[in-house]
């Protein structure tokens, strides 16, 4: 009973638009002796596992890889081609279960550690965020921030790299992120990306989604962290997070967190579940503090031809987040 109770409160969810240091921070937090970091499981974008499997079959990326790796690791003890196969059966047999039940099962598996979930797909729709809180009313949330300029540059760099591998379909999450059409919340399943690629719009909308959602969450269950601060000054920021969670902040705990590469999901997975995390991270999962270089809200944007800078709403929100 105690395990079940803990499983309901021992959930920490990182909320951020894609390309906001979520993978590295989640892997770092997951190395704390009292936490367990998941790869991207994307469970909260569906209500039931049947629905989740349907979404996986339509996704433009390997949406199921993260969860397959977790189930292989936690339920079957290892990540091999065979245990991934077993994990697939395990998840298919649970088609009738709610996705939250699966999260609860995973939380029970890692008990008494806190399960750390980060699936940037949930920030696209307010209903996905509400779904998490509805299912886990005692969950805690980190709103992970990134400077809109660093974010935009990262999105465009990733998009260029993706283009080199072939044509990117319009429904690809990266193109949707770069070509977000307006500063309003888009409620459709699939947005029609604008040909004018400018990631600041997605940065604004997705962060606003998170802010609006968090306004309904008690203050003690949420914290805001600038990703740049966490990477540049991990000792201070990681301790701040651990303190807030009521966890150990001794030297050993903090030292462990500075080794995201030790996560069981910090390398490519076996056949059938190769990814499950950001490719760049899988390629080089070590903490690089220099990635968090300072950025300014002033001046033209490198990805725009017209020499314009940030939209006023974007600048205003970034300033609220403490960026200059």
């Amino acid at each position: 009973m105690q395990v079940l109770q803990r499983a309901q409160s021992n959930l920490l969810v990182l909320l951020a638009p894609p390309r906001s240091f979520t993978t590295i921070l989640s892997a770092m937090l997951g190395q704390h002796p009292q936490m367990y970091g998941l790869p991207e499981v994307h469970l909260f974008v569906a209500r039931t596992m049947e629905e989740w499997w349907n979404l996986c079959s339509k996704a433009t990326f390997n949406m199921d890889h993260g969860l397959l790796r977790v189930v292989a690791q936690l339920i079957f003890g290892d990540q091999t081609e065979y245990t991934v196969k077993q994990a697939m059966g395990w998840l298919r047999r649970r088609a009738h279960c709610s996705t939250a039940e699966i999260v609860e099962t995973l939380a029970q598996q890692v008990d008494p550690r806190i399960l750390v979930d980060k699936s940037p797909s949930v920030v696209y729709r307010p209903e996905f965020l509400r779904h998490i809180f509805e299912m886990f009313p005692q969950a805690r949330f980190i709103h992970l921030l990134r400077h809109p300029r660093g974010h935009g540059e990262s999105v465009m760099k990733y998009l260029r790299a993706r283009h080199q591998m072939g044509a990117v379909p319009a429904t690809h999450w990266l193109l949707q992120l770069a070509g977000y059409p307006s500063l309003s919340v888009v409620e459709d399943d699939v947005i029609e990306p604008s040909s004018d690629l400018d990631p600041q719009r997605a940065w604004y909308v997705l962060n606003m989604n998170i802010c609006n959602f968090l306004s309904s969450v008690p203050a003690h269950q949420q914290i805001q962290i600038r990703g740049e601060d966490a990477l540049a000054n991990p000792d201070q920021e990681l301790v701040r997070i651990a303190c807030w969670l009521g966890l150990r902040v001794d030297e050993e705990a903090v030292r462990e967190m500075k080794h995201p590469e030790r996560s069981p999901y910090a390398r490519y997975g076996p056949p059938g579940a190769h990814f499950g995390n950001d490719r760049n991270f899988l390629h080089d999962p070590v903490l690089h503090s220099e990635v968090a270089r300072p950025n300014s809200l002033k001046g033209p944007l490198s990805w725009r031809q017209d020499g314009s800078g940030f939209l006023p709403q974007v600048t205003e929100l970034a300033e609220q987040f403490g960026y200059d």
Binding site: I75, F76, G77, Y82, K85, Q86, M88, G89, W90, R92, R93, R94, A95, H96, C97, T105, Q108, Q109
Partner: protein, 344 residues
């Protein structure tokens, strides 16, 4: 695919590596020992063979649950309500035995409620629950009517991609004789509905294809079509997860046959384990069940569940078929498939 007479050391090494060990068991029971599915046509010694395997100290054979005919337990109940055959008896007996300690009219009633309450489950999840209950024993499932449709077989593998599959075959002539004998017996208690599995088996494919005029009864057509279904399906399963076995070999030389299966499963092969397997009659499902769940296994087996090696009488692929009035023998494609299985 592994056949009984063509054992290779490499295969055995690989297969033993996928047999779950203590490390794969987790305290909350979410990891189960991968089950063994016996795929066979009705009237192919499957009841006696499964019951024998289930007597191994590390295995447990269920009666016929027929779970894989549908995706969810709710659909399974619906199908059972429309079926001429007592589809639910095996599952009711298994649940009564495993969750309520015995098989009586009262526990069968409790089992019915237990299964009804789980109507929203996938049938595979329900089987996983039974497997978890039986852990660390390997659960054995054989539901011979699932082989009628390829999609049922695919469902098993989709749900249990780590499972093993035993393709149990019987000589087409012995099989045909057995079907016709059973058919005659069954007819004594009244005419068989067109949809009855036995009618379908004997007159395949006319009943299955809803032909207006039934063809002459000749079970070799079903023998061929259903074994091809199994063969086609097994092409998608890795070699180390499947094995072909001739029922006659197992019945006439149980010591060697049973030992080889146990070895393939990575289980005990000592004399005591083999000896126990030679007593299918000790299975809790080897006799008629209580009111409400009388069957769940082949009726002849329930009447006489002992191992009788003489049942595996030698047969030839040549010569006329006793059940045909025109003096015809086995079709060439039937003979060819039987030869592939090692028959003469």
């Amino acid at each position: 695919m592994k056949t009984r007479k063509k054992k290779t050391t490499a295969q055995l090494k690989v297969s033993s590596s996928i047999v779950p060990n203590g490390d794969q068991h987790h305290s909350n029971g979410h990891a189960i020992v991968e089950p063994l599915f016996v795929l066979a046509l009705p009237r192919s010694f499957s009841s006696v063979v499964c019951s024998m395997l289930g007597q191994h100290p590390q295995m447990y054979a269920l009666p016929e649950t027929q779970f894989f005919l549908t995706e969810t337990v709710g659909h399974w109940w619906k199908l059972a309500s429309r079926s001429q055959a007592p589809l639910t008896h095996g599952a009711l007996r298994a649940v009564a035995q495993l969750y309520f300690g015995e098989q009586t009219e009262a526990t069968v009633n409790l089992a019915r409620g237990w299964l009804m309450r789980r109507s929203h489950f996938t049938t595979a999840y329900l089987l996983e629950e039974l497997a978890a209950k039986l852990s660390p024993s390997v659960l054995i499932d054989k539901s011979s009517i699932v082989v009628y449709r390829l999609e049922n077989l695919q469902r098993i593998y989709r749900m249990f991609p780590g499972a093993r599959f035993l393709h149990l075959v019987r000589h087409p002539k012995g099989h045909g004789k057995s079907v016709m004998k059973y058919f005659r017996e069954r007819r004594k208690s009244g005419p068989l509905p067109r949809a009855h599995w036995l009618q379908q088996l004997a007159s395949y494919p006319s009943a299955a294809a809803k032909m207006k005029k039934p063809q002459e009864l000749d079970p070799q057509r079903a023998w061929y079509a259903l074994n091809v279904n199994i063969q086609e399906f097994l092409k998608t399963v890795p070699d180390n997860q499947k094995m072909l076995i001739r029922g006659e070999d197992l019945l006439s030389d149980p010591d060697n046959g049973l030992k080889e299966i146990a070895q393939w499963m990575g289980l005990r092969t000592d004399a005591d384990a083999i000896e126990q397997m030679k007593h299918p009659e000790r299975s809790p499902y080897a006799s008629f069940g209580p009111v409400g769940a009388r069957f769940g296994n082949d009726r002849f087996f329930l009447e006489s569940p002992e191992l009788r090696p003489e049942r595996a009488e030698p047969q030839s692929l040549e010569g006329p078929l006793s059940w045909r009035s025109d003096g015809y023998g086995l079709f060439p494609h039937v003979q060819q498939l039987a030869i592939q299985f090692g028959y003469r």
